[in-house]
Symmetry: C2
Subunit: 466 residues, 2 copies
């Protein structure tokens, strides 16, 4: 329970209209977009400036109150669930686009800006912000930075971290870091920008970001290849990369996902195929034509049943939009959707997908797999029911095996959804004891009182390891 | 002085043939490629494996002996000068290319591999490793990673950090980190890969790296634009970026540099021009042609006296090779060359270059400026004589002002050469007290005994700040 004096002090800082304390209001901030984690915060606070954040941090430090920074709560690993109660911090008042610098191709934003608004804001300029996480319609850029979000264009364009040039970050001791700048090169000191990206709100509170923009590619072209086997589809992914082509997007959908998407979006997907690849290339028209031609040949040589090239950008966009519905489409099938995020070297996609299917069969589960095949980033998605305790137990056993296999294949336990609570048990498998210890040492160095999103990323033992 | 027992113990570990102790042998390891810093190490040791490194670290920790990891010593900021004596560690025995993975487009290497050997090794594959630091003929990949080196292709392709997918690092406590992997996406834990890149050997000893490769661009084209004023040249840089073109290379040379290079390389550079831009674009032939045409127009519209397009790749390569001689060419003019590394947002290049010239005049110095204009990364190079104490004093006063101006323009005190000893006095100007404190806290967390390259990056006060 927060002390009355603490509540009053925080109200004084931000104004009582920017504080929520009623359980009915707090309820919405106890969970994120993952189904299995829930904990009620004690207070929700929306500061209006970094100065207010510094003051709030001072109070929390003195009183050992946890602070969880939260964007729109669309994250998929329990990362913003306030497991120790305390404060959930919102950035709804810090949601301005501060500066569009056309000469240096940068956009400076506050953390509460909705990701989609970024490209809307600069649409007329011929520039764009490449990262396109699936949640971008509702997610905030602050949340995307904290999770180092990926998206469909990551194969060619990279992920969020590749587009963050600088940050303003308030540390738990009240220090304000100004990292990086409108600079394409900067080696002055440790790379704290990259350390903060993906640190899931555990090292500091991001209050400003300088984003890197790129020229919009001239045009794009989209194609679909369908397969009788998932292995053949996965092989085509490797073959395309081996043919020295880097498409903007190369998505994989298995039959479960194809059917769910087609049922939902009605775009004419081949529901009898075992797997399909959805590929988009962008750039100079001549180059795209050549790439699409080469990729079509690679797919056909690789036993694709059928290869179709979208007739224009609009048709391509329709297909991409359909792919974006995959999660929602699957979610309609059963009450609970457990979306996973296993990532392997792209040469191992076939092995991973095969193992997922064998494991689903073994545990009698319904798992659809889709994902960013070009990145080796797959999302096996279990359609289940949280109320069915026996099945949920089997879900966990199955994913334990799937992540063990992922690691064996040289992969990682999360490609873009973050560790949060969901992946914490698996994290030591990837990092080893040495990696966990190093991460924990850095956490202790920058947040010695462990008030920033505690119990995440480093585990509960963070404060008492040897 | 190292104790006899320490010397014997280290000889036991690596074999006495891999230890150097004679002053005549040690001499070469007391300096790097910057002229102003020198300190003799007490021992030079070349371990053959990470196991040997772990044992050496244990001895150094117990006995408080400094260890400076050193590639080829081509670094330009005093970063590998062993200011506390102790050990200089070489990687001449850990210089193998371990694996070329054509499916995942990765190359796994030991730190002692010469950077140039990387592209030689994979030349036949149609893949390449884009980073091309000026020193690549002699520098090691371990050194490049530790310095986060840049190069001539950084505008389009980025710098070293963009091509390091994973690292094996021995920490000072003997823990072995395995970061990242053959993965294009990985958000499991803090990004220790990027934290290690550019940390100048202060956080751990790199023993392995997984490098990302890219398909070789189909072809390239090179052009030169010459100007009556440096401001006009700098303006063309901004105008080209504003025209949504990202050339692979966009280099700036002032008249002092043009003359020195022409004198040295005889490639027909326009020695009467106040400044020139050397621009190379690569990719699909059709796209290149359009880009070169657009850039030529932008330069002409921007008051270029003359624009010349190289007739073929060979002529382009000759021009690029001439540019690469800039430092050596300038170094011939006077006994001492002090090469600086000021980096600004690219919109501020003209302002920076103008200020450099005014400052040179003010202090009666001979400064040539060249650099990676597209990155805003300029190398004002003072041609002087270390024996002329009065002039050297003026050099320092001039560069104090130049770096102050760089910071005012939103820039940084080092774009690609690292902090080392040379930039340490300026570092707080960029990072602020908060940034220095955060860096120091991380150093203390990962190297609590301060044995890894002490007195660099964090300053002497690292171990006793409040």
């Amino acid at each position: 329970m927060l002390k009355e004096s603490v509540i009053e002090a925080i109200k004084q800082i931000v104004g009582s209209e920017n504080v929520q304390l009623e359980e009915t209001d707090l309820y919405a901030y106890g969970y994120d977009a993952s189904p299995e984690f829930y904990h009620l915060p004690e207070m929700v606070v929306a500061p209006g400036s970094k100065e207010e954040i510094i003051q709030i941090l001072a109070i929390c430090r003195t009183n050992h109150i946890a602070i969880v920074a939260r964007g729109s709560g669309s994250n998929l690993s329990g990362g913003t669930v306030p497991v120790e109660g305390g404060l959930v911090m919102l950035f709804t008042r810090m949601n301005k686009i501060l500066e569009f610098d056309k000469q240096n191709l940068t956009l400076t934003v506050e953390p509460g800006v909705i990701t989609k608004a970024i490209n809307q804001h600069i649409a007329a300029s011929g520039l764009f912000f490449p990262p396109d996480p699936g949640s971008m319609q509702i997610s905030t850029i602050g949340g995307n930075i904290s999770e180092n979000s990926g998206g469909l264009r990551a194969l060619k364009y990279g992920v969020i971290k590749d587009y963050i040039l600088g940050l303003e970050v308030v540390l738990s001791n009240g220090d304000v870091l100004q990292t990086g700048g409108k600079l394409t090169k900067d080696v002055a000191g440790l790379d704290l920008t990259q350390l903060m990206v993906g640190s899931e709100g555990t090292l500091g509170i991001i209050t400003k970001a300088i984003l890197k923009l790129m020229p919009v590619p001239e045009t794009n072209k989209t194609m679909i290849a369908t397969y009788r086997s998932m292995e053949a589809a996965a092989q085509s992914v490797s073959d395309i990369i081996a043919a020295k082509i880097t498409p903007a997007t190369m998505e994989f959908l298995d039959q479960v996902t194809i059917k769910a998407v087609e049922d939902f979006a009605h775009v004419g997907l081949p529901t009898d195929a075992a797997a399909m690849l959805l590929i988009q290339q962008d750039g100079h028209p001549r180059e795209i034509d050549e790439d699409i031609k080469t990729m079509a040949k690679v797919c056909r040589d690789g036993d694709a049943i059928d290869v179709q090239v979208a007739k224009d950008e609009a048709e391509g966009a329709k297909l991409m939009a359909a792919r974006r519905t995959a999660l929602s489409a699957l979610a309609r099938v059963k009450p609970t959707t457990i979306l996973e995020d296993a990532t392997v070297p792209r040469s191992e996609i076939a092995a991973l997908v095969k193992f997922v299917n064998e494991t689903a069969k073994k545990y009698n589960l319904y798992i659809g797999t889709f994902g960013h095949a070009g990145d080796g980033n797959m999302h096996p998605t279990c359609l289940t029911d949280l109320r069915d305790e026996d099945e949920i137990k089997r879900v966990h056993l199955a994913f334990d095996e799937i992540y063990q296999k992922t690691i064996e294949l040289g992969g990682t336990v999360t490609g873009e959804h973050g560790v949060g609570l969901a992946k914490l048990p698996y994290l030591p498998w990837k990092l080893g004891r040495a990696g966990m210890r190093a991460d924990q040492a850095i956490k202790k160095a920058l947040d010695p009182d462990n008030i920033l999103n505690p119990q995440k990323l480093y585990g509960e033992e963070v404060m008492n390891h040897d």
